[in-house]
């Protein structure tokens, strides 16, 4: 790890003032479960760390019927998974938070950090850059072992997968994210917060170098909604999923009025599948309709060479999430 300056401001105005004009100047430190690893591996080397854990406004979980759920960006995955209000109104989110990583990590990992965590692409993590480009300009991913890489949104130059398994659950609930910068707050749909970088000096988030995430807002779902989050993960814990699917079904009796289907670990951003949603609209849920939704979700997927099996896994994740949701799921 390289030497760095450490600041621990008490106010958010101060915090954003301490951040830099460009990436590389400073990084926001929350739980540190990702950032410290990135620094030790010399992948990021900020000159200054701005600890946000002393900003009280970034804490708290509150619910009200009109605005919905407000989760402060410093709330940990453990806190979210155990919170009574989250469990009551957004059980799929509590479930997804409780499935991630391991208990030790969930105790320190914050939701803000979870949204902003960096990709796990093994070239990126070994110092070959976010886009993993060889000196000759060719993609290392395309000519190498891309077994964990993207099957959707993979036209390049980014082929990594978005690592958050909470983001798709939140996006399926139509969550919004609130940011704070020198010009004050801004709020955008969480779906729009994730972007596919086009060049090496862009990042995967619509976050400016001098902005911080303050909260996540999750609207109260209409009554009668059924939701479920399914992860295809080989190990029982402490492992990254191959594919996940978060499904929210707005039901009209036995029929789906409308659906949200969001996948993760399949594309450089959480992947909202309108194709799968359309396949479900107006249908009653059966093994066949669930399977058709899974098939629609991966209709445009393509293998990079070693990751063809992930197409099948994403298909199955969607199918199982839909079936689980219809059975009552986590909602």
């Amino acid at each position: 790890m390289r030497a760095f300056e450490y600041a621990s401001p008490k106010q958010k105005q101060q915090a954003v003032g301490l951040l830099g004009q460009q990436w590389g100047d400073a990084e926001v430190l929350a739980g540190g479960s990702d950032l410290l690893a990135l620094m030790k591996d010399d992948i990021v080397h900020p000159k200054r760390l701005v600890n946000v854990k002393e900003l009280p406004e970034l804490r708290g979980i509150t619910f009200n019927a009109s605005r919905g759920l407000r989760i402060g960006s410093l709330m940990t995955l453990s806190e979210i998974s155990e919170d009574a209000q989250v469990k009551e109104h957004h059980p799929m989110l509590a479930h997804a938070a409780g499935e991630a990583a391991s208990p030790q990590i969930r105790n320190v990992a914050t939701i803000g950090g979870n949204m902003c965590q960096r990709p796990r692409c093994w070239w990126f993590r070994n110092g070959f850059g976010l886009l993993a480009t060889a000196p000759d300009g060719k993609s290392l991913v395309l000519q190498g072992d891309n077994r964990y890489h993207a099957i959707l949104g993979n036209d390049g130059p980014a082929y990594f997968v978005s690592p958050s398994s909470l983001a798709p659950a939140l996006i399926a609930y139509n969550a919004r994210i609130r940011l704070f910068g020198p010009k004050g707050p801004r709020e955008i749909p969480l779906e729009k917060f994730f972007v596919i970088p086009k060049s090496e000096n862009e990042r995967e988030h619509d976050l400016r170098p001098n902005e911080i995430v303050t909260d996540v807002i999750v609207p109260a779902p209409p009554s009668g909604v059924k939701a479920s989050h399914y992860e295809v993960r080989q190990k029982a814990a402490f492992d990254w999923p191959y594919a996940t699917a978060s499904v929210v079904l707005d039901m009209n009796g036995d029929t789906v009025r409308s659906a949200r289907v969001v996948m993760s670990h399949v594309a450089p951003i959480p992947w909202v599948s309108n194709e799968a949603a359309q396949a479900l609209a107006g249908k009653t849920i059966s093994e066949q309709t669930a399977d058709a939704a899974g098939a629609a979700a991966v209709a445009n997927a393509k293998s990079l060479g070693r990751n063809k099996y992930k197409i099948k896994l994403a298909h199955v994740a969607v199918k199982r999430a839909v079936l689980q949701a219809a059975k009552g799921g986590q909602a």
Binding site: R2, K40, L140, G144, V232, D239, Y309, K312, L313
Partner: protein
């Protein structure tokens, strides 16, 4: 009391042998109080780091350390691999240490590393290894070491006589040791002639001499200390460049302690691997299951020195064999002994092929093994007994079903499989090769016996008796024929006066206290999700023979640890290399994956003890139980899904590919 003989006591006279005792260091390890080399912080300690070659194959052309040497806080710089070292500075794997530095803290050491300029000439490299080499081409290339063809019996006519034959591919990739405590040491020179070395090693007795040789000093001047080792599995027997460098840096820095521990990435990339082993196998048998013939074309790689030939078929004395092996040279961190070197890989290949053959014969593998049990000479009887015990523990006979016959598309699919393993090693002095228990307990026992004899000789006059009339029992030294004439242990020891008894046990020594060569049987019960290709372990049974069991709890722990390690290499582990950059990709434990407690299922261990086993003396158990899990799990999966997944680890991509292929070929067998 017989003079000058050493004998393990009879079952009726055993006090502690065979009792369930807790490990002495259990509490400190479980509570995190145990201090490993990695944890050490010595007074005025400097931190070591090194420049590592980023290329898999290159030549060091020049090194400029001047900028680093001038940096404040940098106390020593030492060139490990210069343009004149080795074969003209040639480097054979990425991550090779080139220059080491010691500085006041880690960031300064890192900065110094970045300030060192090394010029390399890049050379062509090969890091991948799973392709079947073309024999004719291999014979012409330096990258392949073609072993001579081996023939046993008359394989051609044996295959002609075979009524059923089977051909298939089997194998396991290169994996690493992944020690939880990485390799490294803390070196210091209390004075200019003496080296004090804390080192993470399996070889406390031998490592001092190795260091001494490397830096040309008397071995007696090297003091080695280690309280605990955080895993070695065979990779911490020898001296490493970074170990020597720590000593050299400390010397250059005036003797202050220098700590040089590998980080996780370097540990995985360079500090040892298990070579891969792949084979195309053909086997033949009569309809009644009599095994007749074996033919294999095998290959494997594990660094710049191609691995040696495989002893396959493993354990089975198949009467007719034809074998060819090709070792592949590649540019990855070199292989080291990995808990039972080569045995797990050989077992995967052999038992995979035989299990497939049994399936083709329509036989339960259990019956197939029993039918051919004589080919397991000289341990046929042990295996046969163990099979029966394992059958009880797994309820094998009640639960076995023919391949793929577990309700074709339902998920999850369950299946069971069995496996036999074997291991045989000569004892050595380091803690490796499953020799620790044999080496240590026999030596300790001899020493204790000697000490007892000397003590008795000293106290006999006080009891008015001859030494031969005395015995030691219940904490007292007494006259065997008259227990009233006795001394407490403390009183007896006081007769020794100021001079204590110091006795050293040796091994090998007199008396037949140790043995080697054991047999084990393992069975696995797995579920396979045929939509996702995910394999879950439900239950594993290991029945293991290891002669006289000194401490059952610890022996069972060894077996449990081996089974867990087996689940890891069967389902998760693989050293993934990138041919373009020549480097390892999964250099972190979130993608170099090991089994967690939720992944291992129910583990059942049964040690074979009693007559027929005890009298063989103590036999090491560190390695044997690691041999079978890969094959057992692979065979269980084949039984569950009706098709062989040829190569470990059994990850979703491989399982789904095998299923798809089978469906493409018109459904399951």
């Amino acid at each position: 009391m017989a003079e000058n003989t050493y004998q393990w006591p009879d079952a009726s006279k055993r006090k502690l042998i065979g009792k369930r005792m807790n490990r002495v260091d259990g509490p400190v390890k479980a509570s995190g109080r145990a201090k490993y080399t990695y944890d050490l912080v010595r007074p005025n300690m400097l931190y070591g780091d090194s420049v590592k070659c980023p290329y898999a194959h290159a030549r060091v052309k020049s090194i400029d350390t001047s900028a680093a040497e001038k940096m404040p806080g940098v106390k020593a710089v030492h060139v490990i691999h210069g343009p004149d070292d080795g074969a003209k500075g040639e480097v054979f794997w990425a991550g090779t240490d080139i220059v080491a530095v010691a500085a006041v803290d880690e960031p300064t050491a890192r900065d110094a590393v970045r300030a060192i300029k090394v010029e390399y000439e890049q050379l062509p490299h090969l890091v991948l290894n799973d392709k079947e080499p073309n024999l004719a081409e291999a014979e012409k290339s330096e990258l392949y070491k073609v072993a001579s063809k081996e023939t046993v019996g008359d394989p051609n006519s044996a295959f002609q006589q075979s009524e059923v034959t089977h051909e298939g591919y089997y194998g396991s990739p290169v994996i690493t040791h992944c020690c939880l405590e990485t390799h490294g040491s803390v070196a210091e020179w209390p004075d200019k002639d003496h080296l004090f070395l804390h080192i993470s090693t399996q070889n406390v007795p031998g490592i001092g001499e190795q260091v001494a040789k490397a830096i040309d000093m008397p071995a007696s001047n090297v003091h080695v200390h280690q309280d605990h080792v955080g895993g070695g599995f065979g990779s911490k027997l020898g001296l490493d460049p970074w170990g020597v460098a720590a000593a050299q840096l400390s010397k250059k820095a005036g003797g202050v302690p220098v700590k040089m521990m590998l980080n996780r990435a370097t540990e995985l990339e360079t500090a040892g691997c298990r070579p891969s082993a792949y084979a195309r196998v053909k086997v033949g048998a009569k309809k009644d299951g009599t095994l007749l013939a074996w033919e294999s074309y095998a290959w494997g790689s594990g660094g710049p020195g191609a691995p040696g030939s495989l002893a396959i078929p493993y354990v089975w004395k198949v009467p007719n064999q034809q074998k060819q092996y090709v070792g592949v040279v590649n540019h990855i961190g070199p292989s080291r002994a990995w808990r039972a070197p080569n045995h797990p890989q050989m077992c995967v290949i052999t038992m995979g092929a035989l299990d497939d053959l049994a399936a083709k014969l329509g036989m339960d593998t259990f019956d197939f093994v029993k039918k051919n049990i004589d080919l397991l000479d000289p341990r046929s009887k042990i295996y046969s007994e163990e099979l029966d015990v394992a059958n009880d523990l797994m309820q094998w006979k009640a639960r076995w079903h023919p391949r793929g016959d577990s309700d074709t598309l339902g998920i999850p699919m369950e299946a069971i499989s069995l496996q036999i393993g074997d291991n045989q090693y000569p004892p050595d002095s380091a803690s490796g090769g499953s020799s620790t228990i044999g080496g240590v307990s026999s030596a300790t026992f001899r020493a204790a016996t000697d000490a007892k004899r000397q003590l008795i000789a000293k106290v006999a006059p006080a009891l008015n008796a001859q030494p031969a009339d005395l015995e030691v029992a219940d904490g007292r030294v007494r006259v065997a024929s008259d227990a009233s004439r006795s001394l407490s242990w403390k009183e007896a020891c006081s007769k020794l006066g100021a001079q204590t008894l110091t006795v050293r046990g040796t091994n090998p020594g007199e008396g037949d206290l140790t043995n080697s060569g054991v047999g084990g049987v393992q069975m696995a019960d797995v579920s396979v999700d045929t939509e996702t290709g995910i394999v879950k372990i439900n239950k594993m049974v290991a029945v293991q023979d290891c002669g006289l069991v000194i401490s059952p709890k610890q022996a069972e722990s060894q077996v449990l640890g081996a089974m867990i390690m087996g689940v890891s290499y069967a389902l998760y582990e693989e050293k993934v290399m990138d041919q373009t950059t020549g480097t390892m990709l999964n250099t972190n434990m979130d993608n170099y994956r090991l089994a967690g407690i939720g992944d291992v299922g129910e583990l059942v261990v049964r040690l074979m003890t009693g007559p027929g086993y005890d009298e063989r003396g103590v036999i090491g158990i560190g390695e044997p139980p690691t041999v079978s899990p890969g094959a057992a799990i692979s065979n269980a999966v084949a039984n569950a899904i009706g098709v062989r997944v040829p190569f470990l680890p059994l990850t979703p991509d491989r399982v789904l590919e095998a299923l798809e292929k089978a469906q493409g070929e018109g459904g399951r067998a």
